[in-house]
């Protein structure tokens, strides 16, 4: 896979580049600045760009903003954002769109999981860190999610992370049919329309979870 890496911490960048090389990927460029990264992506057109959210020049969410621009200028390039902590403000529009991933940095220590997420992003799928999904679900737990069974919540979380039905079935030791039944039930209860493509379900679920969280409604009152 052809990759561009944007990461300002030299230690982390070098470690990541070696791990990716070991896994057989072709790292075309490894840079430490969001603007340089943008230029490299425009020139090299990699399969995926792996970008740290917080990067120079401003040390704010420069990486996320550069990613949003890359999505416009080079829609074919997959985007995988890395972050030390959950920081959704700048990239909410990208979450759940095809070819987008958002992982906490510790995830790279689990080589297989990381590689899997990278491939999903490259294949126009979705990869959302379980930690982020967990926090979104937890924050929502007092609303419509209350009507879901525990098993349905598990399925919902895995969908949100961007996994396929087969993966979910394997993870939860269920048949794919059962998973799909759960899926339909979840979508009906939450009032969402189901669509075959994985990334669209992710989009629906993430949008459902995220929109009500970050886009503050006029008055919000939680009830038990």
């Amino acid at each position: 896979m052809r990759l561009v890496v944007g990461e300002d911490s030299v230690l982390f960048r070098e470690g990541l580049v070696r791990l990716l090389a070991d896994a057989g990927h072709d790292v075309l460029a490894a840079v430490g600045d969001a603007e340089v990264m943008e230029a490299a992506v425009a020139e090299l057109q990699p399969d995926v760009v792996i970008a740290d959210i917080r990067m120079p020049p401003l040390l704010e969410s420069d990486g996320a903003r550069a990613a949003a621009r890359i999505r416009v200028t080079s829609p074919e390039v997959g985007i995988l954002l890395l972050s030390q902590h959950i920081e959704l403000r700048e990239c909410l529009d990208l979450v759940g769109t095809p070819g987008f991933g958002y992982l906490l940095k510790d995830r790279v220590l689990h080589l297989a999981e990381f590689d899997d997420a990278l491939r999903r992003v490259a294949d126009c799928g979705s990869a959302i860190d379980p930690e982020i999904v967990r926090s979104l679900v937890r924050a929502r737990r007092s609303s419509a999610l209350d009507s879901l069974t525990p098993r349905e919540v598990e399925v919902l979380a895995l969908v949100a992370e961007g996994h396929s039905n087969a993966f979910i079935a394997a993870t939860l030791f269920l048949s794919e049919r059962t998973v799909m039944a759960h899926m339909r039930s979840v979508f009906t209860k939450l009032g969402l329309t189901e669509d075959g493509a994985t990334h669209r379900r992710v989009l629906a679920v993430i949008t459902y979870l995220g929109s009500q969280q970050v886009n503050v409604p006029a008055t919000h009152s939680g009830k038990h």
Partner: protein, 682 residues
């Protein structure tokens, strides 16, 4: 009626000259102004000049006549007569000079001509005296004998100027027929006296051939009573105008009052000298005469031209106080002398010594007491204003009022709603709320040598400035205290801002520094793992898991320093908190205006601390969090259903400190067994 018409129209009658000055004014223009019935008399400048010139010429009359008389007489009688009446000759000089000053500076004021004729009237009477008592004129001028028959009754002309002055000073007279009738009545009284005294003449200052018949004596008494009544009426009119007049009018009248008080004081002194020290009468009372002659015209002139010259209230108040003290201590002295000599029943040195001792003992406290009492009456406005500020300062010392109210108190005491107070804070000027005011201007107040405040008043009169100076001195301590408190708040706010920035930096350092290095180390271990046999590989897995745990811990730590989710808004951060709280938590967040870093973090930490308290100590099963914008302040409320009974100053002290350090307030309601509600206003 005929008489008054005669006075009003008879151009040759001397009384009429003064009376017409009075009527010029009324005719020249009146404007009934304000709530009190008083006409503001304006005379034409040309008339004022002509009248004052007339008085000047009138003053020259006795001198000229005396000069002519002495040139033709061997005895030099004319000069001798004038020499014996020096104070009376001096009166017109000072009056006319003061009148010219007024006419030049305030040409339309009726006070100038009136003052000129206060002297002019005296001069005319003197001239008549010279004329009728000089042998040269009596023998050489045919009409002098006829003049002599009326001249002894014309003495009220001495006072006609003063009468008019009292009626019009400083800038008008009261309306109404009574006041209009005063001058005609006075003229009528003069005619009555002339008729009563008809045929008498003065020889060496003594009247010869006074009235003998019954009707003429009655006429004489009636005339005298009428003269007295007119003078009393004039004084009453001045008092009435003073009572109903505005601030400036009162100030002007007070100058005249000051002269009156000075004359009274000298009168007392003259009395003490003549009775106590057996001084000759002319020596004892000479200062009184000079004072009358000089002080009254000068006071009138100052009142009209520069009533703002000195702090008249203070002068008047203090001189009155000293006079009263003088009288009281003299009385004390006399009483003690009397009492001691009564008790010892013989004269000895002891009575005087005792009297001196007692008088010295009571003098200072007496004066202090009298000063306060007199100031309360005479200089009431200043006394009330300063007392108001001083009472406020005392209240501040006693903790009953907040020093920050000082601006309002000064506004009220000074009677100026536009008054503004600026405080020196960190090398620049700020208003009492702390907002910077680089264009601060006004009276600078120093405290211990440092400029601490500026007070700007919209009233820029010299008197108002003096008053403001006194008020600001009385207010110095509250002003300094509020300035220091403001400085403390500003300093604390800066500290809090720095702390918040520091927390943010620390959080970043943890994320970007330690966490990154740990993960980088983990990645190196993973790379090494590839070359190891499976047995050792499990060891690496453990090490990496250990590292991951440490990274998670660091993330938690950084979250405690400053939750990074606060970047996504207060609601997001609170929802994340709800996600990790083990008991049900109601969250009610109203739409909020844009909040700054300090507010967001403070609100978050208040909730975090209160919720933690509920979990740890209250055995709560449910907690509610409410955040709302209340009139520009952020209201954060956390309530639980726990056991309550949080001791005051107990577990929530840290929370209280945190809120108060950003200028907020905390109310904790925690009845035992009925839950705890913590409310913070930020």
């Amino acid at each position: 009626m005929d008489i008054s018409r005669f006075v009003a129209r008879g151009p040759r009658a001397i009384g009429a000259v003064a009376a017409s000055a009075y009527d010029f004014g009324v005719g020249a223009g009146t404007d009934a102004r304000g709530p009190y019935p008083c006409e503001h008399v304006r005379v034409k400048a040309a008339h004022a000049r002509a009248l004052t010139l007339g008085a000047t010429v009138a003053w020259a009359l006795p001198v000229g006549l005396a000069a002519v008389a002495s040139a033709h007489e061997t005895a030099g009688q004319g000069w001798g007569f004038l020499g014996s009446q020096l104070p009376e000759l001096l009166t017109p000089v000072v009056c006319v000079a003061a009148a010219w000053l007024i006419v030049r500076r305030v040409p339309t004021s009726p006070t100038g001509p009136a003052l000129a004729w206060t002297g002019g009237g005296i001069a005319v009477v003197m001239a008549l005296d010279v004329l009728t008592q000089s042998e040269f004129f009596v023998s050489s001028l045919p009409g002098v004998g006829a003049v002599a028959t009326v001249s002894t009754g014309l003495w009220p002309l001495d006072l006609v100027g003063l009468l008019i002055l009292l009626l019009v000073f400083p800038d008008g007279r009261r309306t109404g027929r009574i006041w209009r009738a005063v001058v005609p009545a006075y003229a009528a009284a003069t005619v009555m006296l002339v008729i009563a005294m008809w045929g008498s003449r003065k020889v060496d200052g003594q009247v010869e051939g006074g009235p003998t018949g019954g009707p003429r004596v009655v006429l004489l008494v009636a005339g005298l009573l009428l003269v007295a009544a007119c003078l009393v009426a004039a004084i009453v009119s001045l008092v009435l105008r003073y009572r109903s007049g505005d601030e400036v009018l009162r100030l002007r009248v007070r100058w005249l009052m000051l002269a009156g008080v000075a004359i009274m004081a000298l009168l007392v002194a003259g009395w003490v000298m003549s009775i106590g020290f057996k001084a000759p009468l002319d020596v004892a009372y000479a200062p009184v005469l000079v004072a009358i002659v000089v002080l009254v015209p000068v006071a009138v002139a100052v009142a009209v031209v520069r009533h703002d010259l000195f702090d008249i209230d203070r002068l008047l108040s203090q001189s009155t106080a000293w006079m009263v003290t003088l009288v009281l201590s003299a009385a004390t002295f006399g009483i003690v002398v009397l009492a001691v000599s009564e008790v010892l029943s013989r004269s000895s040195g002891l009575d005087l010594t005792a009297a001196a001792f007692v008088t010295a003992l009571v003098l200072l406290p007496l004066h202090r007491y009298v000063s306060t009492a007199v100031a309360r009456i005479v200089d009431r406005d200043r006394f009330v204003a300063v007392a108001r500020v001083e009472r406020f300062a005392a209240d501040v010392r006693a903790g009953r009022r907040a020093p920050e109210e000082i601006e309002t108190v000064l506004r009220e005491a000074h009677g100026d709603p536009g008054l503004r107070l600026f405080l020196a804070e960190g090398g620049s000027w700020v208003d009492p709320s702390g907002a910077p005011c680089p264009d601060a201007a006004g009276l600078t107040l120093t405290f211990g040598g440092d400029a601490i405040a500026r007070i700007h008043s919209t009233n820029d009169a010299a008197r108002a400035r003096r008053r403001l100076g006194e008020l600001s001195r009385a207010a110095a301590v509250p002003i300094e205290v509020s300035r220091l408190r403001l400085g403390l708040l500003a300093g604390r706010a800066r500290l809090i801002e720095a702390t918040v920035a520091e927390r943010r930096r620390l959080e970043r350092d943890l994320h970007d520094g330690a966490q990154q290095r740990l993960i980088a180390t983990g990645m190196r271990l993973r790379r090494l793992q590839r070359d190891l046999d499976p047995n050792r590989s499990a060891e690496i897995d453990c090490a990496v898991a250990e590292l991951e745990g440490t990274v998670a811990e660091l993330r938690e730590l950084a979250h405690g320093v400053r939750p990074s989710r606060l970047d996504d808004g207060l609601l997001t951060a609170l929802e994340a908190m709800r996600a990790t709280t083990p008991i049900p938590m109601d969250l009610d967040v109203s739409p909020l205006p844009a909040l700054d870093d300090v507010q967001v973090l403070s609100a978050y930490l208040v909730v975090a601390e209160a919720v933690t308290n509920s979990l740890k100590h209250a055995r709560a099963t449910h907690v509610g969090v409410r955040v709302a914008d209340l009139a520009g302040r952020l209201c954060v409320e956390v309530s639980d259903d726990g056991i309550g009974g949080v001791p005051d100053g107990g577990a929530l002290t840290a929370l209280r400190d945190r809120v108060e350090s950003v200028g907020g307030t905390v109310t904790i309601s925690s009845p035992s067994g009925a839950g705890t509600t913590v409310q913070a206003m930020l």
